[in-house]
């Protein structure tokens, strides 16, 4: 059964003019957000995006943009408590980590 999460929240954006159709984003996306159409990558399932940032990091042409972050409530709580950006670095203090 398919797992889905909240709709219309992801910060993923594509600037189509910069896309060269190299296909890297399709290769790295773990949730099949992109497909190739007319030699360009297009976003077909935006709500499946989990903002991992793999596509942005591997796009050599700056066609993609996302605010990468951890989809982890514990990290967000620690971020609120410590005033830092939420990250997976919870391990340093508590010995707990994903």
């Amino acid at each position: 059964m398919k797992n889905g999460y909240l709709n219309n929240v992801t910060t993923l954006k594509m600037t189509s003019e910069y896309c060269t159709g190299c296909g890297r984003c399709i290769e790295v996306c773990p949730h099949n957000v992109f497909v190739m159409k007319d030699k360009k990558s297009v976003i077909i399932d935006k709500d499946a995006c989990m903002e991992c940032g793999a596509c942005v990091k591997n796009c050599a042409f700056n066609a993609l943009e996302v605010k990468p972050g951890v989809g982890c409530a514990y990290a967000i709580i620690m971020g609120w408590l410590t005033g830092k950006e939420p990250s997976c670095d919870c391990s340093d203090s508590s010995g707990d980590c994903c």
Binding site: M1, K2, N3, G4, Y5, L6, N7, V9, T10, T11, R24, E27, V28, C29, P30, H31, N32, A48, C49, M50, E51, C52, G53, A54, K57, N58, A60, K67, P68, G69, V70, G71, C72, A73, Y74, A75, I76, I77, P86, S87, C88, D89, S91, G95, D96, C97, C98
Partner: protein, 331 residues
Amino acid sequence: MQISSRELKIIETSTELTFQDIMGSWKARWGINRMNYKVEPGLYSVGNPNSDSPVLVSANYKMSFDRLRKELKGIKAWILVLDTKGINVWCAAGKGTFGTQELVNRIAMVQLDKVVSHRTVILPQLGAPGISAHEVSKFSGYKVTYGPVQAKDLREFINSGMKATEEMRTVKSSAYERLVLTPVELVGTYKMSLMIFGILFLLNLLGFGPFGFVDFYAYMGALFVGCVLTPVLLPWIPGKAFTWKGWLVGFIWAVLVNVLNGWPSVPQYSLLRALGYLLILPSVSAFYAMNFTGCSTFTSFSGVLKEMRIAVPAIAISIALGIVLILVSSL
């Protein structure tokens, strides 16, 4: 002039997991020694590889390394283990320790160019959030190919000429895969649970004390609902937000607790107390279910933030109200 050359260091490893390896994995799942379950970073060989054999990159979390090598029976390969501080590929990529710089440095440190004649490294796809493939090429001369998400598909990937199917590229999360993540969630809550028991005990001592065995198992049940039941049943529970799903199952648990205690037929068991449980238990489950977002494979930061902005205050208010009701009912 003499050019000093460093010695090549290649560690031979096997595709067989020993009893110790399996025990180690099991312990890590329960949070025992999990943050120090490492292998040495460097270059490993499996099955007598030669200069044409593929180079597979992994993390130095021992469970990641073991998962990879056990899938390589009958395959000649090199394994390049990055120093990810004992963290798995996906989480290390998020932190950046499974990253471009570490990969480029590690390729140079093990002198990969003296070991293989080709210029390709195969990375696990889930390492991609930490790696810029084009930058790796620029700085090391090695081309990055992303392999499948799961090590079990590697054999097919290699045999089909380094082609991953869409199936291999997709992250899935089966009920079983979620189940194996729940022990560590449970173990992770013991501190908070002990604190809660401590407070209840103190309240008992101070004479506010209606708290007893019922409260204990009611709480433990709500904990189990949030940490185990909701994660395992995730896609079958209606709704999308994790807190909502946890709340819903927790609500069923709260009703059950009340009925088990004889409400409404037992007159000592007051309406206030029943309401108190209905306010507290589902909220406890919702809170613990919310924490499973960090273990899931499909929640985004923006999404989790959105649900938390509503859920966290709601949970706090609901629990506070519930405690007041239970205290009042015991006066």
